[in-house]
């Protein structure tokens, strides 16, 4: 019978939640790296026993941990993220030029083909790649140097490269997203990049339709249709049907189009999930009701999914990397909250139950479906 392994990064350590395919009874292991912020951990699609984790604190900086046994044991690997050449400057909050400085790794994206190849999205925003299982890291500096880098600026959470989507069909195509710069695409494996933000409109920047400066919170794709992208922006839920060349809004009847994560059903490329949040300063669900919204039409028309979720007095947030799906026949959907709950639905969102309720604030959730 299949197994599901949920990898949870929190403010104070990592947790691994496992269940069989029924997804009813769960085992909770952890904390791993107790006391450290685990921004993200993720497994290799080609070797599910190979996991990577981003471990950091304000005291001791950044470590990268690697496991070869599905998270039972870990070893620290390389933690030197040196910008390529002269790092240069980007915009600071007050509009002045600020030097690029490494702060932490937000997201780790293992290659679709080689377990020793892994990408890292960091703050201050840059993309790094390791070809030796995380021992050494090299910047794909064409992203920062394509021209718009000096105009990027941090969002409230820092200037982070938080989304990395590897195109499973088009060799060499990678999508990334940065707060608050926008979305970018390479078609040559990371050598050259260009902004892909046409159609985005952001009222918090001087030119609402500028080429860069948009606070993109998350992008998602279905692997069978990688030219279609879904985006949760600071405000607005967006869709592109041409690999990001243009975007149109699909917020439709959502109660709020502010939010952080967006995810696609494992088997239905037009079924997508978001978690509406009240506003950019009120990071909690509207009306104190934790509701996942699902569109089965690729956006525009949304239904609230509430069964099993708190519908009163709930004021948690769901962060951008804290939602994921499994690939079992009845697609499982998972998300973690800043209140420490990890919720799971084994029926595509129809019904929810907490796997665990009292973890530290959840920063990230990833899911592995194991044979």
């Amino acid at each position: 019978m299949s197994q599901v392994r949920v990898l949870v990064g929190t403010r104070k350590g990592a947790f691994i939640l496992t269940s069989d395919g029924s997804r009813i009874r769960w085992t909770v292991d952890g904390p791993f790296f107790g006391g450290w912020e685990i921004y993200h951990l993720k497994g290799s699609p080609v070797d599910p026993s190979r996991l990577y984790a981003s471990q950091s604190t304000g005291w001791f900086g950044q470590l990268i941990q690697r496991s070869n046994d599905g998270g039972r044991s870990w070893e620290p690997v390389g933690n030197t993220f040196a910008y390529d050449g002269v790092a240069g400057t980007h915009q600071w909050y007050d509009g002045t030029a600020h030097p690029w400085e490494f702060k932490r790794v937000w997201h780790l994206e293992p290659s679709l083909k080689d377990p020793d190849v892994v990408y890292a999205g960091i703050e201050d925003a840059a993309l790094f790649r390791s070809e030796d299982g995380g021992r050494t890291w090299n910047e794909l500096s064409g992203l920062r140097s394509h021209g718009s880098g000096p105009r990027w600026q941090p969002g409230a959470g820092g200037m982070c490269l938080h989304t990395i989507l590897l195109d499973p069909v088009n060799k060499g195509r990678i999508f990334i997203a940065i707060s608050a710069a926008g979305a970018f695409r390479t078609d040559d494996g990371g050598a050259t990049w260009r902004p892909i933000n046409r159609g985005l409109r952001s009222e918090h920047i001087p030119d609402p339709t500028a080429e860069v400066g948009h606070c993109v919170h998350r992008i998602a794709m279905h692997p069978s249709r990688p030219q279609v992208l879904f985006m949760q922006k600071h405000w607005d839920v967006m869709r592109s049907d041409d690999a990001g060349d243009s975007w149109h809004e699909i917020s439709g009847n959502l109660p709020s189009d502010f939010g952080f994560p967006i995810e696609v059903h494992a088997h239905e490329p037009d079924t997508i999930y978001v978690v509406p949040i009240k506003s950019d300063s009120e990071h909690y669900p509207p009306d104190g009701k934790l509701r996942v919204y699902r569109s089965r039409t690729g956006g525009g028309e949304w239904e609230a999914l509430t069964a099993g979720l708190p519908q009163r007095d709930c004021y948690v947030n769901v962060l951008r990397d804290a939602m994921a799906v499994d690939s079992l026949d009845a697609c499982g959907v998972y998300f973690g909250t800043t209140g420490g709950q990890v919720y799971a639905s084994a029926d595509s969102g129809g019904n929810w139950a907490p796997i665990v309720r009292d973890l530290p604030a959840v920063l990230s959730v990833e899911v592995q479906t194991l044979p």
Binding site: G35, W36, T57, G58, W59, F60, G61, Q62, L63, E75, P76, N79, T80, A82, F102
Partner: protein, 98 residues
């Protein structure tokens, strides 16, 4: 032998229990102690000093013999009692919330 006491989190990373004993040749300074730690336990590189600037991380402090040595120059000799192994060199995670 120089005795070094690491913060608990870093002992976990390095797989250590108790104090760390280091054999140094030459001057006993903050820099030589940190170089020896990183040379012996490469997994700790970057945790005490920024890997690019090599400067002490802001929330890492160095105490010895009842003194805060955090702001002493990297190449200043450490107290004789530390160099002679009579007193430990304490590496502390600063009290800073969280």
């Amino acid at each position: 032998m120089i005795k070094v006491i690491l913060p608990a989190h870093l002992k976990n990373i390095a797989g250590l229990s108790g104090a760390l004993a280091l054999e140094l040749t030459g001057a006993v300074t903050q820099r030589s102690v940190l170089d020896a730690i990183e040379g012996t336990y490469p997994m700790l590189r970057g945790t005490l000093r920024d890997p690019s600037t090599r400067r002490r991380r802001p929330f890492v402090r160095f105490f010895a013999c009842g003194q805060d040595l955090s702001h002493e120059p990297d190449d200043s000799p450490l107290p004789a009692a530390v160099a002679e192994g009579k007193e430990p060199f304490l590496i502390i995670g600063a009290i800073a919330g969280g």
